[in-house]
């Protein structure tokens, strides 16, 4: 991966020389398609690019944010009933929660951008616009952040954006096995003296492929047919087993 990355960066070098006049920031992704097959155990993807002005200590800063498809999430709090049995009690419903959110920077976002800028672009877990209906307690929002961080699908500054030769940068985005399928958006920001001076948007897709895709598609589009097929498959497997092992 590392050697491949260096080659990609070298290819980019002549581009950066030209970009010096026109583009303050150029970025790209190592892959645009992540294929989830039945053997999928997670993958990773590299965001890399270069800047016109030097980056790193004393210079500009780079922020990378990746967002997955959103869905509605319900957070429930357990309460003891009669002091013994733990039961799901009050709940809060969050609409539009990203199924994947990773932010990485040459320095953490809260060190290089003022709060209103972070809020405006939803940079950092604390700045995500998570509005809820239902229970009002702020504990639910904190719990959602905790649970998503535990699942490995939300990461905040776990790995810094690495700088090579003061103008090249790259960062690895880990995609665990539980990564949701759909369209992903990656934003790269160039920050100079607490202001965003350039921004580039990239995209990639996570798709089920092969058998995993066919099973999920049929289960969703033809649920009745899928149910009948499940019955037939299970009955056949049971019959096959009784035949195979009867004389064995």
């Amino acid at each position: 991966m590392r050697r491949w990355l260096l080659a990609a960066l070298l290819l980019l070098l002549p581009l950066t020389a030209r970009a010096q006049e026109e583009e303050p920031l150029v970025a790209a992704l190592s892959r645009n398609e992540i294929e989830v097959t039945t053997g999928f155990t997670g993958a990773s993807l590299v965001v890399f690019g270069s800047t016109a002005a030097p980056i790193g200590p004393g210079g500009d800063e780079v922020l990378v944010v990746a967002r997955g498809p959103t869905r509605a999430v319900v957070v429930r709090r357990k309460v003891p009933v009669a002091g013994v049995v733990w039961v799901n009690g009050p709940s809060a419903r969050f609409a539009q929660v990203p199924g994947y959110y990773v932010i990485a920077g040459t320095r953490p976002a809260w060190q290089i951008l003022p709060e209103e800028q972070r809020l405006a672009h939803a940079l950092g877990l604390d700045s995500l616009p998570l509005t809820s209906t239902g229970a009002r307690s702020p504990g639910f929002r904190a719990a959602l952040l905790d649970l998503e961080k535990q699942s490995g699908l939300w990461l905040e500054h776990t790995e810094p954006v690495e700088i090579a030769g003061s103008r090249l940068f790259h960062v690895r985005l880990p995609l665990p096995a539980a990564v949701p399928t759909g369209d992903y958006r990656v934003e790269v920001y160039l920050v100079r003296s607490r202001r965003i001076v350039a921004r580039q948007e990239l995209a990639f897709r996570v798709d089920r492929m092969g058998a995993a895709d066919r099973i999920a598609t049929v289960a969703q589009a033809q649920p009745l047919l899928y149910g009948l097929a499940c019955i037939a498959f299970a009955a056949f497997a049971g019959w096959l087993g009784s035949v195979l092992f009867r004389r064995g």
Partner: protein, 302 residues
């Protein structure tokens, strides 16, 4: 070897699933039950979401019971008429059960309901089995003869029907209600219900032991098929890959278990099964009573 389950949307070790299937199949072959009551909690334990575990557990039970039914049918141990009445109740019951399950899922109490059902049903059945078999083991020497036929209030009900294979002339209402109850439980718990049906047929309906296992398998196959269909159709939670991996280990395990089962005595087998059922109930009860590590849980909204 990691395998990505397309409906559960997670990656699980295939060998672990086949091993689980083998172990549960071995026990079910030994005791003559489907084994769903062990499998579903184990699936939940390894992190499969409860709706997927329940639906796929029912699907696996279907496959595991088919081979048993074929063998019993050849020996003429299936009372198809009684099975059909039980089944009619079972189909209505499993339909009601899936609706109940969908409602629980909307309210967010699936985990609680599944655990509670398990604790209550397994606890009761397990305790009764242990008591009954211990009594039978003690009675072995004194050998008191039971009355062949006892008349109870159930014999006064209308709509009587003659069940030749079971040598019974009773109303269809009690078997229908038994079937209905098992149907509801199998939809919520993801089990075929064999471990509840067998004692119910012996003690509530008074059927002879020889046709009980075959007839119970008859009912279980069709109820599990109905639950699979309804869960797949209405909730989309049956993971066929999960089912097939479990079955691959399960059908092999069942044969080894059945071979070993012939060497154990009936009362001892029932006592062991009762203890197993009780311990599953107790471990689930502990899960309900112990203070949770994290008070909050998140799930998809419906």
């Amino acid at each position: 070897m990691q395998v990505y389950l397309p409906i559960a949307e997670m990656s699980v070790d295939a060998l672990l699933l086949m091993g689980l299937g083998f172990g549960v199949g071995w026990l079910s072959g030994l005791f003559g039950v489907g084994g769903g009551f062990l499998l579903t909690p184990l699936l939940i334990l390894i992190g499969i979401p409860s709706p997927v575990a329940v639906a796929s557990g029912a699907n696996q039970t279907l496959g595991a019971s088919v081979s048993g039914l074929i063998a019993q049918w050849r020996r003429g141990n299936v009372d198809a008429k009684m099975g059909t009445v039980l089944l009619a109740g079972g189909v209505v019951g499993s339909f009601a059960g899936v609706q109940l399950f969908a409602l629980l899922r909307r309210v967010g109490q699936v985990d609680l309901a599944v655990s509670l059902f398990y604790v209550v049903v397994l606890g009761t059945v397990g305790a009764l089995m242990v008591l009954e078999s211990v009594r039978a083991i003690l009675r072995r020497r004194t050998a008191v003869r039971r009355k062949l036929h006892e008349h109870t209030w159930a014999h006064g009900l209308p709509m009587k029907m003659r069940f030749r294979k079971s040598r019974l002339y009773i109303s269809v209402i009690p078997p229908f209600l038994v079937g209905f109850g098992i149907g509801v439980l199998s939809a919520v718990m993801g089990v075929g219900g064999g471990f509840m049906l067998v004692p119910a047929m012996i003690y509530l309906l008074g059927m002879p032991t020889s046709v009980v296992i075959g007839t119970s398998l008859f009912q279980v196959v069709f109820v599990a098929a109905n639950v699979t269909l309804l869960q797949a159709w209405q909730l989309g939670t049956v993971d066929i890959l999960l089912t097939l991996l479990l079955l691959a280990g399960g059908v092999a395990g069942a044969q080894f278990g059945a071979a070993m089962g012939t060497r154990l005595r009936g009362e001892e087998t029932r006592a062991l099964l009762g203890l197993l059922v009780l311990s599953v109930a107790l471990s689930l009860l502990w899960g309900l009573l112990k203070p949770p590590g994290n008070l909050y849980s998140a799930g998809p909204a419906f």
